[in-house]
């Protein structure tokens, strides 16, 4: 006699029916996870690629800047050389200018001296001295029948010289030295010295 036991089979069948959907959902979850991972992979790869491209662009920019910098450094060295040449040329020019600045136009100075001599005055010597100071020394004498006129004529001569800028411009000080009176017969002669110190 055949025994038909439907219950366990039914149970078993029921169990099977229940198990299959469970497996499907885990696979589904895995699939979703795989999809997300794939999407993330695409994103990270894209990000990686774009970042690499950006870095390459920046490297190119950096290399251009480096080239520019090296060109500027060459330019800087060149400028330094030119500056050195310029300094040397300036020194050379100032050397020549210094030599020429001591050049005095003596014809003008002597002409002014001659032009401004009073009738009562005559000169005995004009010379330059270097010690103790560089100066022009003018020595002369003056005479007149009128005693006061002698000193006046000397002072006028000195004043006129001081007022002549062409003469006085090269001197820092123009001063009259001691006046010495000498009697020659009935005539009184006064010797004088004028010291004109050159500007340094």
């Amino acid at each position: 006699m055949a025994i038909i036991n439907l219950l366990p089979d039914a149970k078993a069948h029921h169990k099977k029916l229940k198990k299959e959907p469970e497996e499907d959902s885990s696979v589904k979850r895995l699939k979703i996870f795989a999809f997300i991972l794939t999407f993330l992979s695409i994103l990270t790869s894209g990000g990686w690629y774009s970042l690499s491209a950006q870095i390459n662009a920046r490297k190119n920019e950096m290399s251009l800047l480096n080239k520019k910098s090296s060109a500027l450094k060459t330019g800087y060295n060149e400028i330094e050389k030119i500056k050195k040449i310029k300094k040397e040329t300036e020194e050379k020019l100032s050397f020549y200018e210094k030599i020429l600045e001591n050049n005095i136009l003596w014809s003008k100075k002597l002409s002014i001296i001659g032009k401004n001599i009073s009738p009562q005055v005559w000169l005995t010597s004009i010379h330059t001295e270097t010690a103790p100071k560089k100066m022009l020394v003018i020595r002369g004498s003056a005479t007149s029948l009128n005693e006061s006129e002698i000193i006046d004529s000397i002072s006028q001569f000195v004043e006129r010289l001081k007022n002549e800028t062409v003469f006085s411009s090269d001197f820092s000080v123009i001063k009259l030295g001691p006046l010495v009176s000498v009697k020659k017969g009935s005539l009184e002669i006064m010797d004088f010295s004028l010291f004109c110190e050159f500007k340094l």
């Binding site: 991972l37 400028i79 030119i82 040397e88 003596w106 002597l110």
Partner: protein, 188 residues
């Protein structure tokens, strides 16, 4: 049935392997991105620094142009100064005697001394000057005319010392002594 089960199992293993691979790819990519990002920040800061550094450099071409034009201006000034120097000693003696003759001055003595050689600051050139002492006898106005002739010659003659002494024998004549320093443009 068993085959189906085995097939499913294999499929699942492959699937899991694929997921693991994807995870590995993501992890690697992320690590690379992090490294690249830090590189990017570094390069970016270098670029900013370099750009700032370059902006501090002056405009070299215009600087060079200005400096060169100043040098050429100074060179031409030096050339103009040197152009007024006597080129040889004979020329100096010739000028002195010519002007003495023009002004009817009898030269008593022309005494040249040793040439002075001075090194110019840039050490490429030497300044040479010839000291000459001249003695003569003439009137004050002959002297003025003689000096005026010398000064109008257009050559550099530096009169270093002047000595005019009245002559006790002749009121109109004076004993003159001039110490000259005459720059020369070339060594003679």
């Amino acid at each position: 049935m068993a085959k189906i089960e085995e097939h499913k199992k294999t499929k699942n293993i492959k699937f899991i392997a694929g997921i693991i691979l994807l995870l590995a790819i993501n992890a690697f990519a992320l690590s690379r991105i992090t490294a690249l990002y830090s590189d990017d920040i570094k390069i970016k800061s270098e670029i900013i620094k370099k750009t700032k550094e370059l902006s501090n450099f002056p405009d070299f071409p215009s600087l060079k142009k200005t400096a060169n034009s100043e040098i050429s201006k100074q060179d031409s000034q030096i050339a103009a100064i040197k152009n007024n120097f006597f080129s040889n000693v004979e020329e100096i003696f010739f000028s002195l005697s010519r002007f003495a003759e023009t002004n009817k001055i009898g030269l008593k003595a022309i005494t040249p001394s040793e040439k002075n050689e001075i090194k110019i600051p840039d050490n490429t050139d030497v300044y040479v000057e010839l000291p000459i002492t001249i003695k003569f006898e003439c009137s004050y106005y002959q002297l003025l005319s003689f000096l005026n002739n010398l000064e109008s010659l257009g050559k550099t003659i530096l009169i270093n010392k002047v000595k005019i002494q009245s002559n006790s024998n002749n009121v109109w004549e004076h004993d003159i002594e001039l110490a000259l320093k005459i720059p020369l443009s070339v060594k003679n």
